[in-house]
């Protein structure tokens, strides 16, 4: 007698996923086309947007902005620096706070007070604190800074608020990850004669990594939102958010739409990469339950 083959649900098959996934974007495209046809909304033509996307290195003529490619680059540089700084500070501090009661008690009130403050709302404060100084200002001083184009575009105030947005999720999920290590694993290591450092490296860190990776993914989502919003704020001269807003002001909506699409797709890609990281470091977790 033959076995009944277990069929995959059609929504789980690649074709099914593609079909369902393109329904809403398809509807959006359709509304766009409709708006163009009927002239009811001020939207750029399809062709114009596609042209911007396919010529990313062209500097826009009518608006005071850098090319799409450069804007993307600047946005990504700022993200890497702010987010990277957050990871480098939050993970070690999280480890420390999870294992040291005193540090935990000291940090706890500050963390809980600071966390809910929207980083974008913090930008004016940050600008007062840091002024318009950038990396270039830090390295070569205010007068020569303008020569170092890319470095001069990375404002310290913006790095600060990016750090603020990303720090707390990563910090808290690190603490959670470290605290959730099963005592049995640590005891086993001790019984085999491990030093605290060996235990930390071979047990605590791998056990906490899935939680940390998850915190990083959440933090990245926050950072992405904060960054784009911050680039709209006066004081910036480049970036995807900047391009989006400037183009709006001069009614060159093809750049706005193009920037929006790039923002969406890039955000999706980065999140997907971190999701893969999360799955990789957490492959063993399902089995633990």
């Amino acid at each position: 007698m033959g076995e009944k083959r277990k069929d995959t649900h059609w929504a789980d098959r690649p074709a099914g996923k593609l079909l369902l996934g393109s329904l809403l974007p398809g509807a959006a495209l359709f509304s766009w086309w409709l708006a163009i046809r009927t002239g009811t909304a001020v939207v750029p033509r399809f062709g114009e947007v596609v042209s911007v996307l396919f010529h990313p290195f062209v500097v826009p003529q009518d608006i005071y902005s850098r090319s799409l490619a450069f804007s993307l680059l600047m946005t990504l540089i700022r993200l890497s620096l702010g987010f990277g700084l957050a990871v480098l500070t939050a993970v070690p501090l999280g480890f420390w706070a999870a294992q040291n009661k005193i540090i935990d008690r000291i940090l706890y009130p500050l963390v809980q007070l600071a966390r809910p403050i929207n980083p974008v709302a913090l930008l004016p404060v940050a600008t007062v604190l840091f002024g318009l100084s950038s990396l270039a200002t830090m390295l070569v001083g205010g007068l020569e800074a303008w020569r170092y184009d890319v470095l001069d575009q990375v404002q310290l105030a913006m790095i600060f608020i990016l750090w603020w947005g990303a720090f707390f999720p990563i910090f808290l999920s690190t603490i959670h990850g470290v605290r959730s290590v099963r005592a049995a694993y640590l005891e086993t290591m001790t019984l085999f004669g491990a030093t605290p450092l060996q235990s930390a490296r071979r047990v605590v860190l791998p056990h906490a990594l899935p939680s940390i990776a998850n915190g990083m993914r959440i933090a990245l989502g926050v950072s992405w939102l904060v960054l784009i919003a911050a680039e709209i704020f006066p004081g910036t001269r480049s970036g995807l958010g900047y391009m989006l807003c400037t183009a709006c002001k001069t009614s060159d909506y093809q750049y706005t739409f193009a920037a929006m699409l790039v923002i969406g797709v890039t955000g999706l890609l980065i999140d997907w990469l971190l999701l893969r990281l999360e799955r990789r470091v957490g492959h063993w977790q399902a089995a633990e339950r």
């Binding site: 049995a184 001790t190 019984l191 085999f192 004669g193 071979r202 791998p206 492959h283 063993w284 089995a287």
Partner: protein, 277 residues
């Protein structure tokens, strides 16, 4: 005075130990704080000794503090009073030389089986090639040849326990503490693991303290059996059982001995119940 023996099945109800005992407990007591704060006595002046080499089984009802005894012997916990020694020295001095295995194997799930087995060697600073060689040897000996590069959750329960045993072997500990390690396995696998264990004990000259609540298992494995009462735990009886290995599970003699031991254990525990309740 001649020791009281049951000559039919060679059970010696008044065993004695020559030389340094492998594991030794003298008047050890241990309490725990219960939820409402009142201390609960888990071990009540427990004393026993185990011979060097071979397996000693601790048998008792659930909740009789058997796990506590092992935890104190391993050095994870400290007794409230009494002396604890392993080979004449306190457990503290033997960190890394005492093997410990529980029902839940605690293999690290994020590491491959080979890495798990090699962990004690890694902690001692053994070079990677030497380590891999040793791990391969252990895997072959335990029938885990294909599993080195798998993760613990990808192999069966029996293989996981074998891998945990492999890890103990890698640590080269001469004394092992085992807390009902084969409980979660099906009967056939359990029997195979018991036979494997006996083989290892004879090959490597190990001294094992094995906790179980299964009389059959105790009779098959042990050279000495210690019967523990329910909490607060006391040693109700100790006896030696000197039948040579390999022991035949299917023989009538074996069945009769199990019956005998079981009846004895029952009566001793009942006596204890009546005396103290």
């Amino acid at each position: 005075m001649r020791p009281m023996t049951d000559s039919k099945s060679q059970i010696d109800y008044q065993p004695h130990t020559t030389g340094n005992a492998a594991f030794s407990f003298r008047s050890v007591s241990k309490s725990y704080a219960s939820r409402d704060g009142a201390p609960v006595l888990a071990l009540d002046e427990v004393s026993f000794e185990t011979p060097n080499g071979g397996i000693t089984c601790i048998v008792g009802p659930t909740g009789s503090g058997k796990s506590t005894i092992l935890r104190i012997l391993s050095g994870i916990e400290q007794p409230d009073s009494g002396t604890v020694q392993i080979g004449g020295r306190p457990p503290r001095e033997l960190i890394g030389r005492i093997g410990y295995l529980t029902q839940r194997h605690t293999l690290f799930p994020w590491m491959k089986v080979g890495e798990n087995i090699g962990m004690p060697l890694e902690l001692q600073g053994t070079a990677p090639d030497r380590r891999h060689e040793r791990v391969r040897g252990i895997c072959t000996m335990l029938g885990l040849a294909g599993a080195e590069n798998r993760y613990p959750y990808e192999i069966s329960g029996g293989m996981q326990q074998r891998a945990a045993l492999g890890r103990l072997l890698a640590s080269e500990s001469p004394v092992w503490l085992m807390d009902e390690p084969f409980n979660a396995l099906d009967e056939r696998t359990r029997h195979r693991m018991q036979e494997l264990l006996i083989g290892l004990v004879r090959e490597q000259g190990l001294s094992i303290l094995f906790v179980t609540h299964t009389i059959d298992e105790a009779v098959f494995l042990a050279d000495r059996v210690i019967v523990l009462t329910a909490g607060p735990a006391r040693v109700a009886e100790t006896f030696d059982w000197s039948v040579a290995h390999p022991r035949d599970r299917l023989s009538r003699e074996f069945g009769e001995t199990i019956e005998q031991v079981r009846r004895r254990v029952e009566s001793v525990l009942k006596e204890d119940d009546n005396r103290y309740r």
